[in-house]
């Protein structure tokens, strides 16, 4: 029995020794001093995973002797500075240690991504990269991104980003042209409003811009680069399950990619065409309301919007609460505005409202507009054919050819003028088109006529010269015979 007690005592003693030897003397000492770092570190995920102070700061965490514990010979580095900070993090976060020792599923390429991102550029000090891991994640007290206490948690990250991005003097040293009011705008957006109410699914900075790999918006690799942006928005907006609770459609991207805007931007890579943010805004993203659609479309299609606003349709649309441009042209799936949209035939948008029996005046106007547009198209095509024929015959008709642009321009103007829904104005513009087409047709027809005239002229002249030459030949023969 005595022996048993002795065995238990020895076992307990050796366990307590081994426990005291493996404990973090740095942490114990700093905690006893009551410093802030150790206070924060208690909540830190790294502390919970058994990572000691010395794992980042170096030194001997087993020694109680301060000189020995914080001796450079023991590998003590103190507080890492500049790029050494991120490298210290990357000791674990970029190797296999993460999965093997800590059983973590976190990616291990964050530093690599950070260094190639816009934040990985050299800071104005010239000594380090702009952002280190701690810039966003803090140093002591780091918690999982899913933890609301984390500075990169969806509800906190906007504030974390604006620490720098809303600081005018700081941002001036890097990108003076970049706005610093993103947060203010964001709070006015639907995303921002939901975020502040605690909706972690609502888009915040990282949702659109990315995190470690973030690039300048003008960089083709950026997720918000014009040709990449629609897909970035579609990550959430095309996900039926994700969007279920918001009760909005999820076909915007598929509609947009088939639309004239989508094809021009995504296939032809023409940045003149809008991406989602050009109509909805970006940081202040909000869907245009019924009364603001013509203003949104009008930011590019200025003349059309202006004419529409002054037209009789404006009042009628407002009364019936029709979304202006969208009523005839659609929104995300807006198609190329061909002449088919006009008139009273199948495919026309006018007869949606202006049926012959209900609104005969509008019906008649639509019919006239369409027939004039068709005639203008016809005379323009004829003019082109005449010019081609004259050119093929090698005639000089550069003026008429140049005027073809004017004819094309007149057609464009006429199609724009339709939005005034005003007969007089429309006829005035189309007259210009008819006149110029007629001028071209006449010039080209004259050139073709001139071509045949030259052939005939040559034939007659050649004949006269040949007769004179032959007479001369006969005369010479006659005088030489003498």
């Amino acid at each position: 029995m005595k022996n048993l007690f002795l065995f238990i005592f020895i076992l307990f003693f050796s366990f307590s020794i081994s426990f005291s030897e493996s404990s973090d003397k740095c942490f114990e000492c700093h905690q006893s001093l009551g410093d802030k770092q150790s206070e924060l570190f208690v909540k830190d995920i790294h502390f919970q995973k058994g990572i000691s102070c010395a794992d980042c700061h170096g030194g001997n965490s087993q020694s109680e002797d301060i000189d020995e514990a914080m001796n450079k010979k023991s590998g003590y580095i103190g507080i890492p500075k500049g790029d050494a900070i991120s490298k210290t993090c990357a000791k674990c976060h970029s190797g296999t240690k993460m999965s093997s020792k800590y059983k973590s599923a976190l990616p291990i390429n964050q530093l690599e991504k950070l260094e190639t991102s816009v934040h990985g550029k050299i800071a104005t000090s010239g000594k380090e990269h702009i952002a280190q891991c701690v810039t966003c994640h803090n140093s002591h007290g780091i918690v999982s991104v899913k933890n609301p206490a984390s500075p990169v948690h969806p509800l906190k990250v906007v504030k974390t980003c604006t620490k720098c991005h809303a600081d005018a003097s700081f941002m001036k040293t890097y990108n003076p042209s970049l706005a610093i009011d993103q947060l203010e705008k964001y709070r006015t957006s639907l995303h921002g409003k939901k975020n502040i109410k605690g909706d972690v699914k609502a888009a915040e900075c990282v949702s659109c811009h990315g995190s470690h790999e973030i690039q300048n918006a003008k960089d083709i690799r950026s997720s918000v680069y014009p040709t990449n942006l629609p897909q970035t928005c579609a990550k959430c907006h095309s996900d039926k399950d994700y969007m279920k609770e918001y009760k909005i459609p999820t076909d915007q991207y598929s509609e947009f990619s088939k639309s004239i805007h989508g094809v021009t931007l995504l296939k032809k890579k023409d940045f003149g065409a809008p991406a989602c943010n050009d109509c909805h805004g970006n940081h202040g993203a909000t869907p245009p309301g019924i009364s603001s659609i013509s203003k949104v479309c009008g930011s590019c299609h200025a003349l059309n919007a202006e004419l529409f606003s002054a037209s009789p349709h404006k009042k009628a649309f407002d009364e019936k609460e029709f979304p202006e441009c969208e009523t005839c042209h659609g929104n995300h799936g807006v198609v190329d505005a061909t002449d088919q949209l006009l008139g009273i035939n199948q495919g026309s948008v006018c007869i949606k409202c202006h049926q012959e029996n209900k609104f005969p005046k509008g019906y008649a106007t639509a019919k006239i507009f369409r027939s004039i547009i068709d005639s203008l198209e016809k005379v323009s095509k004829e003019a082109i054919l005449y010019v081609e024929e004259a050119e093929q015959k090698g005639m000089e008709i550069s003026e008429a050819k140049f005027k073809l642009r004017e004819a094309h321009q007149s057609r464009m103007e006429a199609r724009t003028m339709i939005h005034s829904f005003n007969n007089e104005k429309f006829l005035e513009v189309t007259k210009k088109g008819f006149d110029v087409s007629e001028f071209i047709r006449l010039e080209a027809a004259n050139a073709v006529e001139e071509f045949y005239y030259r052939r005939w002229g040559l034939g007659v002249s050649s004949l006269i010269i040949t007769i004179v030459a032959f007479s001369l030949f006969v005369y010479i023969r006659r005088i030489e015979r003498k």
């Binding site: 000089e396 030459a469 030949f473």
Partner: protein, 359 residues
Amino acid sequence: MKKYFKNIYSWIDERVELEEVVKFMGKKYVPVHSHTIWYYFGGVSLFLFIIQVFTGILLLLYYKAGEELAFESIQFIMSKVQFGWLIRSIHSWAANLFILALFIHMFSVYFEKSYRKPREITWLTGMLMLFIAFAFGFSGYLLPWNELAFFATKVGTDIAGVVPFIGDSIMIFLRGGEDVTGATLTRFFGFHVAILPGIFTLILAIHLLLVQRQGMSEPMGYENTKIAERKTMPFFPNFILRDLLLWLIVLNVLAILAVFFPWELGRKADAFASAPAGIQPEWYFLFMFQTLKYIPPQILFIDGEVFGIMMFAVAGGVWMMVPFWDRKSSRGEANRLVNYIGLFAILYIIVFTIIGWLV
């Protein structure tokens, strides 16, 4: 009718003694032999020159020299001016046929050895007119201020700049500055319509006067033919009428070329645009241009291009001086070396022109 003409003739005759000129021409005889055909090419060249003067004056009524005006004015001539297209096309075609006629005339005179004593000055003035005709072609080519002409002038004046010692000065003089600009166009216009025609007309007058004074050259060994076997025809009216017949044929050819192959205008010159592919000088410079392309960059201690230009200058000089080194022909003896040199020159020009055209 006949009476009126006679009266006019008598009126002029009383004042300028026309009768003597007619008598002189009537007494003048042109030898008739198997090579008589070559005599007509001098007349054809003269006719084409007259056409150039005539059409050139008509073009002057509408042409405006200037970077912003030249191209547009030719466009106007070709599309708006009545028969402007015809005049411009004839001017361009006649310019090329003129050079061709001059080449034929020169080689025929060369192979006939017609340059021999006492016609050395006639040969020299003829050669000078050929060089001036080249200058006419080179300066006139730029006047429409189109893309091809602009870059061809750039290349052409660059080549002139390679000439040792004075090249740079020549280039700057021709261009009116460091580059081909509107200043080049205005001075080329000046050369083309004032300076060159003035000099050419003077030399042409001397050339024609000498031909009239000395008469047509007889072929080698013609003096050994018995007088009874020597055939001749009166210069007036027979030869003149035959000349006229050929002129009418040439006029017909010119009209056909102008109608069926109107001279293109191309695109307006743009100094900032890159040179289009296939920049070439006019066909009569092509054999020299092509030769310069084949010459290696360095020959002994001399730059290849400089060497080429010097070679052409020496060859041109030797060719021009043929009446002075071909003593045998002047003595009435056959000189095969001269024939071989002439044949080589013809073959060289033809072969290199074709290569230049095809490459």
